[in-house]
Amino acid sequence: MRGIQHHLTDLEARGIRVAAISVDPPEASRNLRAKRGYTYTFLSDPDAAVITRYDLLHLKAGPSEQDVARPAEFLLDPGGTVRWVNLTESYWIRATPEQLLQATNALH
């Protein structure tokens, strides 16, 4: 998440909008954005409806066994078609900002 912020200028220069999605309520996202200085969009899916629709629900994986999203990244073209997907095999391993920038080449 921090890596994305560090490379947000590069991503936006390529015309890419970033939106982060989790079960966190808006207040939690507001606090996180303020604390870490994140300026991209954070969306709240508290009942995990969208996370379920994207088949990313990780049951009872939260700190108190809440259902959460498994980490994943999708790059969509302006028509809403998926052009690149990253479903990590470990939740400590996320796409690097370099990989995200590389992925934007799939749009051209």
Binding site: G15, V18, A20, L43, R53, V68, T81, V82, S90, Y91
Partner: protein, 153 residues
């Protein structure tokens, strides 16, 4: 008389143990923030290796020069605890974290991303259509990166 001198404090053992604890905690508190130290925890494994070296040196001198250094009993205990910490670290990073759902039905390349409307951090509704059409840097967006994350930070 030399025989009355008490064995000295074996700081290598304590340094090794404390470093093992730091090697464990620093991943979650610090190194996880940077892709280069998060995706593979080489910095933490390096700290564990240094800790093992300190503990080995401390135990060695406790057994070779017991008249000078303490630690024949608690040295192996600290080394055992450090090994447990390392084992837990390896389990947490390389085993437990890989128990993820298969997400076999997640949208694939070429598929249409399912539409949604969610609330942003200012409590405003935002749809996927809004994300796909709202300007980025004054121009129509060329793409949208959706980043799903676990939350509860």
């Amino acid at each position: 008389m030399a025989t009355d001198a008490k064995p000295g404090w074996n700081w290598l053992l304590w340094a090794g143990f404390v470093l093992s604890v730091i090697a464990f905690l620093s991943y979650f508190a610090f190194f996880v923030e940077f892709p280069s130290t998060r995706n593979f925890p080489w910095a933490n494994l390096l700290l564990f290796a240094i800790a093992a070296g300190l503990l080995a040196a401390g135990i060695r001198r406790a057994f070779r020069r017991p008249q000078s250094y303490r630690g024949k009993i608690f040295g192996p205990i600290l080394a055992g605890l450090s090994t447990l910490i390392l084992g837990f670290f390896v389990f947490a990073i390389f085993v437990a974290a890989r128990h993820l759902p298969s997400s076999a039905a997640a949208p694939r390349v070429g598929a249409r991303a399912p539409d949604f409307t969610l609330t942003d951090s200012d409590n405003r509704p935002v749809s996927l259509a809004n994300l796909l059409t709202g300007p980025v840097g004054g121009a129509a967006p060329k793409g949208v990166m959706l980043v799903f994350y676990r939350g509860y930070w």
